[in-house]
């Protein structure tokens, strides 16, 4: 991440100088960076709501019941998570929110899941196998209905805006499976 970050900035700087657009850098520094702050703040509301609800679910025992139901899937993908651990329900709820396209809810629940995974992580600075797997599945996007894309297509007067649902589900499935396999194959390289 360290190298990648610097490379991106340096390549950008270089291009800005070559094309004589150094103004762009200033523009990014003033406007776009502020956008990051606005975004983080705008996430606060939904984050608080889900953290509140998750606290209720934890206290009522719902999280435990859920983790029992999803035990088989979790054991297959995240063998290191102990039985009945709250991480299980947080992960499943994040996946559900993702599936139904509730982006911000998914982020809030995902961060909760990361927190639970960190609690059982042996080295707090290094990502555990479970964390890597969780993120890879998360980033391969398991959305059932890409509402935003459908909206854009409809706005562009598509004859059948929804026709990409099937292709999207197919593609998403492939990429998730490939991601899981890649993760499993890579994680053995450096055991914790």
């Amino acid at each position: 991440m360290n190298i990648l970050w610097v490379l991106m900035i340096l390549l950008g700087m270089l291009m800005a100088i070559v094309t004589g657009n150094i103004n762009i850098i200033n523009d990014v520094l003033i406007n776009d960076v502020q956008e990051a702050v606005v975004f983080a703040i705008s996430l606060t509301g939904i984050m608080a709501v889900w953290l509140g609800l998750m606290n209720i679910a934890k206290r009522s025992g719902l999280m435990n019941s859920l983790s029992v139901i999803f035990r088989p899937i979790i054991r297959l993908l995240f063998p290191s998570i102990p039985v009945n651990h709250p991480a299980t329900s947080a992960i499943m709820m994040n996946m559900m929110a993702n599936m139904f396209g509730a982006g911000n809810s998914a982020t809030a629940l995902g961060l909760k899941a990361m927190e639970e995974l960190q609690a059982i992580n042996s080295n707090k600075k290094v990502a555990s196998n479970a964390m890597c797997m969780f993120l890879v599945i998360n980033m391969s996007s398991i959305q059932l209905i890409p509402l935003t894309v459908i909206k854009i297509r409809a706005d562009a007067a598509s004859a059948f805006p929804e026709e990409i649902i099937a292709t999207t589900i197919f593609t998403t499935t492939i990429s998730t499976v490939v991601g899981i396999l890649a993760c499993k194959a890579l994680e053995g390289r450096k055991p914790q």
Partner: protein, 176 residues
């Protein structure tokens, strides 16, 4: 489609209701416990902020300076044999970096080439089946203080390449 849409819209409210009702039956002090959990919300937002800023900075400098375009141009000869239309290649590149950037690009592609063309369909599929990798990684790892992400980036990029190739393939099969 109608049913899928309905499920999408109702899923989250239903989940919320279940949590609240279950808590009510089990005699949890709903309001107090909710507040107790919600207090963490602002802390989390503040914690992820520096990571978000760092990513926004690098991605936007890269994108607005034309660095992204340069990278894309370098890769065109490599991806031609794979059957990826060069028109959607910029989208494949920008998708892991920026959500709003790729959305703008998708709009652009669809307006230029049409939604019901091969290019339009591939672009739509690609957009719906991929995620902004770097941003997600930055905030998820940032929130819990992980510094070494190990194989996450590599595995996620492999998965992203699979998504790009699969979206071209399935559109070729289904729409041609």
């Amino acid at each position: 489609m109608k049913i899928l849409n309905l499920i999408s819209i109702t899923a989250i409210p239903v989940l919320m209701t279940i949590i609240l009702l279950h808590g009510l039956i089990k005699g949890v002090k709903l309001y107090d416990v909710f507040i107790e959990g919600a207090q963490e919300g602002f802390k989390t937002a503040v914690k992820i902020m520096p990571y978000l800023i760092a990513i926004f900075l690098a991605v936007n400098i890269m994108r607005k300076s034309g660095g992204m375009e340069l990278l894309t141009k370098i890769f065109i000869p490599l991806t031609k044999p794979l059957g990826i239309p060069s028109e959607v290649l910029p989208l494949a590149f920008i998708r892991p970096f920026s959500g709003s950037g790729s959305l703008a690009l998708l709009k652009d592609i669809i307006t230029t080439y049409g939604a019901d063309t091969f290019i339009g369909r591939v672009a739509s599929t690609m957009m719906g089946s991929a995620e902004t990798i770097f941003y997600t990684m930055a905030i998820y790892f940032g929130a819990v203080g992980i510094q070494k992400s190990r194989h996450t980036v590599f595995a996620a990029l492999i998965s992203h390449v699979a998504a790009v190739l699969a979206s071209v393939m399935i559109c070729r099969l289904m729409f041609r």
